[in-house]
Amino acid sequence: MSDHNSNDVLRRDPRAEWIARNRLHPLHGTVASSETAEVRGPSGLLRKNPHKVGFIGPNGIKRIDRLKGNAAATGKGRRSGAAKDVQLPLHKVENPDFYIVVVPDMVGGRLTAHDKDIIGQAHKLISGIDGNGAVLAVCFGQSKEEHFDTAGVDRLLLLDDESYEGYCPEQRLEALVQVESAYKPQFWLFPDSVNGGSDLGSRLAARIGERPAVQVWQADNQTVVCRGAGGTTDITRNTPRLLMLAEECADPIDETRHEAQSVTLDAAPVVVAQLRDRGQVAVDPNAISLAEAEFILSAGNGIHNWDQFHSAASVLGATEGASRVAVDDGFMPRFRQVGATGTWVTARIYLAVGISGAIQHMQGIGQCDKVIAINTDAGCDMVKRAALSVIGDSEAILGELIKLAEDFRAQQSAGGDRDAA
C-alpha cells in the first residue's frame, strides 16, 4: 500500500493474474502475498478484496486511507513527486515582430499586483495580434524584483542609474521617448495609479501626441471600456496606442515562465530638469490613517513596557497599531485596533510585537506585504505568517532596535547638517 501510486499507469500482467487465480500454482504464494486490495478480475473489472483494504496503524488498529494518497502531501511525504516545485513552461519569443511596452510602478522596487495585471493585459493584447510580440517592461530605479520571469516579462529594460532615482519624471519621460523611437511599440501600457504610472503616462501621451484612454478596465485590440466623468460613466471607444489601465483589468500571468531578457538603451538621455526633488517631508506618522499607513508597529499582549513601545514607534517613524487585547486592556485607543473588528490595514511593512496571530487579527493584515514578528513563542501563527521572525523578549529587542534607530537618526541629522553647510 505504501508504495502504491495512484498516478501510475495500471499495467496488466496476464501471467501474474493467471497465477493469482490458480491457487494450486507453485508460484501462487509469491503473487498472492504482493496482491493489493484492488485487482483486475478476468473480465477486466476492478475487484476489491475488503480484507486487504487499509493498513495497520501504529496502535494496532486498522486504518483506511480514503484520500487515495492525496493526504500524503500534508504528512508523511509519500508522494514526493507532487511536493517538487513545478517548473512552468518557458514562453520564448525570438526576434519579436512587435513590442508592447509596460511601464510598471515598481513600488518599493517590486512589481505590484497592479503591475502584474497590466503585464497580463499586455499578453492578452499580443494574443489578439498576428505575429509574435514581446512584452517589454521598462523599470526605473533600483529593482528588488526576482520574479520578472513568472510575471510575464519577455524583455526587460532596467534603468537603474543614479539619474533615475527619486522623483525625476522629466528624465524618465526622456528615456520613454527614446524607447518609443527605438522600439516603435504597438501599445504603451501604464498602470493608472497614484504611484507615478498615471503621471508618466500622461506626460508621454502629451509628448508623443497620443490621446490616451485612462481608467481602462476592459481592453482588446479594437475597443476599450474606460471610466469617464469621475468614474460615473463607461466610455466605449477605439483602442488608442497609449492605455492607462485600472486595477484588475486582466488576470496576471500564472501558467508560463518568460525570458525576462535584459535589453539596453543606446544613448543615455540627459535633460535639464525643471523640477527638483527635495525628498519626502516628515509627516506625523500617527496623523496618517491606519488603513493607508505604509509602516505599522503593532503592539499586542506581549508588550509590557508601553512607554518604550511609543518611543520605538516615534523613532522608527511608524504608525502605531494594536491587537484587540491591547485595546481592551486600555493601553491603546480603539481606532488603533487592527483586525476583523478594527481596521483592515494595507501596510507594506507590518512589525508585530507580542501578537500571537489570532485569525481575527490575521484577517486585518491580509494585504500586508511583509510581516515581521517579535514573539517569545516560535510556534505561534504570526511567526508562520512572518517573513522575518525573531524569538525573544519584546522589551529587550525593542530596546536594541531603538538604539539602532537613534544612531541612524543621529547620523542622518549630521549628514543633513553637512549638506546644508
Binding site: K68, N70, A71, T74, Y167, E170, V194, S198, D199, S202, A206, R207, P212, G228, A229, G230, T232, T233, D234, T236, R237, N238, D251, Q274, L275, R276, D277, G279, Q280, V281, V283, A287, I288, S289, E292, E294, F295, L316, G317, R348, I349, I359, G366, V371, I374, V383, K384, R385, A387, L388, S389, V390, I391, G392, I397, G399, E400, L401, L404, F408
Partner: protein, 272 residues
C-alpha cells in the same frame, strides 16, 4: 498640517490662474463646483492673500458662460470669473494656452481630473507640453514662492508628502489632499461678473464615435482554484494561508535580532 504661511516675493507681482470646470456630484449626478477645482481656487485665494502686494488670481473657464456652477466658484469671494466662450464639446487646449500666454500667468492651478466628460486629466499635461512649462501633479500645498522658484508639496499615496522645487511659470494639478475649499456664498455668487471672451475652437471629432453609458458595476475578481481533485479543492478552501515560511531567528542575541529587523526596515526603505 501647519497653518499656511506663505513667503511670497513682494517685488514680483504673482499672477495665478485657476482653471475650473463643471463638476458633477458623484451620487446624485447634480451639477456642482468640482471638488478639486474648487480646491485649486482655494489654494489660489490663499496664495494671493488680501491682494495687498499686487498678486492676482484669475479664475478661468473655457465653455458655456451661462453655466450655473461657475457662480458657485464666484461665491468663494471672487469679483469676476473669466470665461472663454466656446462650444462645450470643443477642444479647449489651444484657446486656453493662448490665453495663459497672453495674460502672463506665473502659476496655473487645475484639478487632477474633471468630474464630467472624458475626465482623463490630460488638460494640465497638454497645456504644459504646449507652453513648454513644467508640471507638478497632485499638489497638496504651495509652501513658498521666492525669487522665481516655488516650493511645492506633492501629495503621495499613503498620506506622504514630497517637497519639490520648481521654476516659475509652472502648472500644478491640485490633489484632493489640498486644503478644503471654503463655502460658496449665494449673494456674492450672483453679483459676480462674468467676463466673457468669445473664442473659436475646433470641434472634437474623435469623441463623436464614442459610446457613453452610466458606469456598470465591475465584476469582482474570483479566486480561481486550479485544483485537479476534490481533496485539493477542499484543501484550498480550508487551509490557512501560510507564508513561504520566513526566516526565524531563535538563538541569536537580542542585538543581532534587532540588527536583522533594522536591516530589513532599511532595505525596504521605510526608515527615512
Amino acid at each position: 498640517m501647519q497653518p499656511n504661511q506663505f513667503k511670497v516675493d513682494v517685488a514680483s507681482k504673482l499672477k495665478i490662474v485657476s482653471l475650473v470646470s463643471v463638476g458633477k456630484h458623484p451620487q446624485s449626478g447634480r451639477v456642482r463646483r468640482s471638488d478639486q477645482d474648487s480646491r485649486a481656487v482655494e489654494l489660489g485665494l490663499k496664495l494671493t492673500g488680501d491682494n495687498r502686494s499686487g498678486e492676482s488670481l484669475t479664475v478661468l473657464h473655457a465653455g458655456d458662460p451661462r453655466e450655473q456652477s461657475l457662480r458657485s466658484y464666484a461665491g468663494m469671494g471672487l469679483k469676476s470669473v473669466r470665461v472663454l466662450q466656446l462650444d462645450p464639446s470643443a477642444d479647449a487646449i489651444l484657446p486656453l494656452g493662448q490665453h495663459l500666454l497672453q495674460c502672463g500667468a506665473d502659476i496655473v492651478l487645475t484639478g487632477v481630473r474633471a468630474e464630467s466628460g472624458e475626465s482623463s486629466g490630460m488638460v494640465p499635461y497638454q497645456l504644459a507640453e504646449k507652453l513648454g512649462w513644467p508640471i507638478v501633479p497632485r499638489v497638496a500645498n504651495i509652501v513658498s514662492v521666492e525669487g522665481g522658484v516655488a516650493e511645492v508639496l506633492q501629495a503621495l499615496p499613503r498620506g506622504q508628502r514630497r517637497s519639490v522645487m520648481v521654476q516659475l511659470p509652472f502648472i500644478a494639478s491640485v490633489d484632493s489632499a489640498a486644503p478644503e475649499a471654503r463655502q460658496s456664498a449665494f449673494g456674492p455668487a450672483s453679483r459676480a461678473l462674468m467676463d466673457i471672451e468669445v473664442v473659436s475652437a475646433s470641434v472634437d471629432m474623435t469623441r463623436e464615435s464614442w459610446e457613453e453609458v452610466p458606469a456598470r458595476k465591475r465584476p469582482k475578481r474570483l479566486k480561481v482554484v486550479k485544483a485537479k481533485t476534490a481533496a485539493e479543492r477542499f484543501k484550498a478552501a480550508t487551509a490557512k494561508s501560510q507564508g513561504e515560511g520566513g526566516k526565524v531567528m531563535k538563538n541569536e542575541s537580542a542585538v543581532e535580532q534587532a540588527q536583522a529587523i533594522f536591516d530589513l526596515l532599511k532595505e525596504e526603505g521605510v526608515l527615512r
